[in-house]
């Protein structure tokens, strides 16, 4: 019942945000309708950064406490983060072509986003290739921490590089001025996507927990079967 009411609430928020983005927000002067993807785009990025912050906290917490729940939280957060990142990159590319005439540019923010995407996909691949649950949790947590350390370095290095070699000015200087109504719609969209993100995160966490329990039960059953076989052979021998 609680789950249903939360999902209904999240869906309602999304509909409200979508309505706001399409109809309430004023039309942008140069790009007109296509600019409205900005609300989805920024919302997805905020979801990604939130998810990856949660992932970093979970990674550190696992290494500090050795409680399995942090590992489950970590993988759930990274998966949500990767999906948000993919969405952010896709909406960015789709917006870039009509708005600036280019699909992509290698400035600090985009490059960092791409590298983050690659790093967290590598995290998920690493997890897939490690079998022992404890070792998988530890090694992926270590990699996750390294990945989080790397992200600001990528941003800084790219910034330094691009100021030395000024890139062609494609961006009209975003964040220079944002109309108040647009700003409000943006905030609504960000607050609408966060419940959805958390909902998916919690579901994924529960799935991971159930997998873990199923695995424990399976191992316990194997032990019992082995035990039973030993008893049978002893009694028949």
């Amino acid at each position: 019942m609680k789950r249903l009411s939360i999902s209904v609430l999240a869906a309602a928020l999304i509909f409200f945000a979508g309505y706001a983005a399409l109809f309430v927000a004023p039309d942008e002067s140069t790009m007109h309708a296509i600019q409205r993807v900005f609300y989805v785009h920024v919302a997805l990025w905020s979801a990604m950064y939130t998810a990856l912050t949660i992932a970093l906290i979970a990674n550190v917490a696992w290494l500090a406490t050795r409680q399995m729940k942090w590992d489950w939280l970590g993988v759930s957060a990274v998966e949500v983060g990767v999906v948000s990142c993919t969405g952010g990159l896709a909406t960015g590319v789709l917006w870039g072509k009509p708005a600036w005439g280019i699909w992509w540019t290698w400035d600090a923010r985009l490059t960092t986003a791409f590298i983050l995407w690659l790093l967290y996909i590598a995290y998920l691949l690493l997890r897939g290739l490690l079998e022992d649950p404890e070792r998988r949790a530890t090694l992926s947590a270590v990699f996750g921490i390294f990945a989080s350390l790397d992200a600001p370095l990528v941003y800084v290095s790219n910034r330094l590089w691009r100021t030395q070699h000024p890139a062609p000015v494609m961006f009209g200087g975003d964040n220079s001025y944002l109309d108040p109504t647009m700003a409000k719609v943006l905030v609504v969209c960000i607050f609408a996507i966060l419940p959805v993100m958390i909902f998916v995160l919690v579901d994924r966490y529960r799935l991971e927990r159930m997998r873990h329990e199923a695995e424990e039960l399976r191992l316990a059953m194997e032990d019992r079967t082995e035990e039973a076989n030993r008893v049978v052979t002893r009694s028949t021998a």
Binding site: L118, A122, A141, V142
Partner: protein, 224 residues
């Protein structure tokens, strides 16, 4: 036993092991040589173009060679479970890691010392005047490469498909290192060569950040 002394002993072990067969070193040198030759087909290696693209190509060659060469670092320890033996000795985990990092640094440094002159000759880039400064840039960049590479070699040693996994984990992490190293090298390849302090500081910072991170997390890397 102190970390420094333990690391030195382990370094000596690694070097002795490698210099018996020299297979890793030879393989790395040949691989980088092949990559350098293949790059010559990517653009016309006139002197001007070589100065422009050379640093990037050189560093990509070293990154690829490094990510292949760093893999046996911990994978070797799996065959006879020698890592368990190492763990049972009274040395700190960081000493084990440090010994391997230093050994890998020496191997890569030897490969680079052989190949940078070869590159200079094949691509007509005069590097005589900047040899010392170039050595500094190469050292800082290689240090970052081996620090992160050795850590990820430990991470991927337990996984399946480790040969593919190591470059997959390592190369995205090294993106800022690549930018910094290429820019610093490009400054030395230019008509008026100069040491760029921004990028050198960045390289140094990168090395320190990841060395500290590996020191803090080394227990988890080497645990059972």
């Amino acid at each position: 036993m102190g970390t420094g002394r333990a690391a030195a002993i382990l370094l000596a072990k690694e070097l002795r092991l490698e210099f018996r067969t020299r297979e890793l070193l030879t393989g790395t040198v040949i691989f980088v040589l092949v990559v350098i030759v293949l790059f010559s087909f990517a653009f016309d290696p006139t002197s001007a173009d070589s100065r422009r693209y050379g640093p990037g190509l050189l560093w990509i060659a070293f990154l690829f060679a490094g990510s292949l060469m760093l893999h046996p670092s911990f994978a070797r320890e799996q065959t006879n479970q020698t890592l368990d033996a190492l763990r049972m000795t009274p040395v700190s985990p960081f000493a084990i890691l440090l010994g391997k990092m230093l050994a890998n640094f020496i191997f890569l440094a030897i490969a680079e010392a052989v190949l940078v002159p070869v590159f200079a000759v094949l691509y007509n880039v005069p590097l005589g005047g900047v040899a010392g400064r170039l050595a500094l840039v190469l050292a800082l960049g290689t240090l970052g490469l081996v620090i992160t590479g050795t850590v990820f070699s430990a991470v991927s040693a337990h996984a399946r498909m480790r040969e593919l996994l190591l470059p997959l984990l390592l190369l995205p992490i090294l993106a800022p290192l690549l930018i910094a190293a290429v820019e610093a090298t490009a400054a030395l390849f230019a008509e008026q060569p100069a040491l760029d302090p921004t990028w050198l500081t960045f390289l140094g910072g990168f090395d320190i950040v990841f060395l500290t991170a590996s020191w803090l997390l080394c227990d988890f890397l080497l645990e059972e």
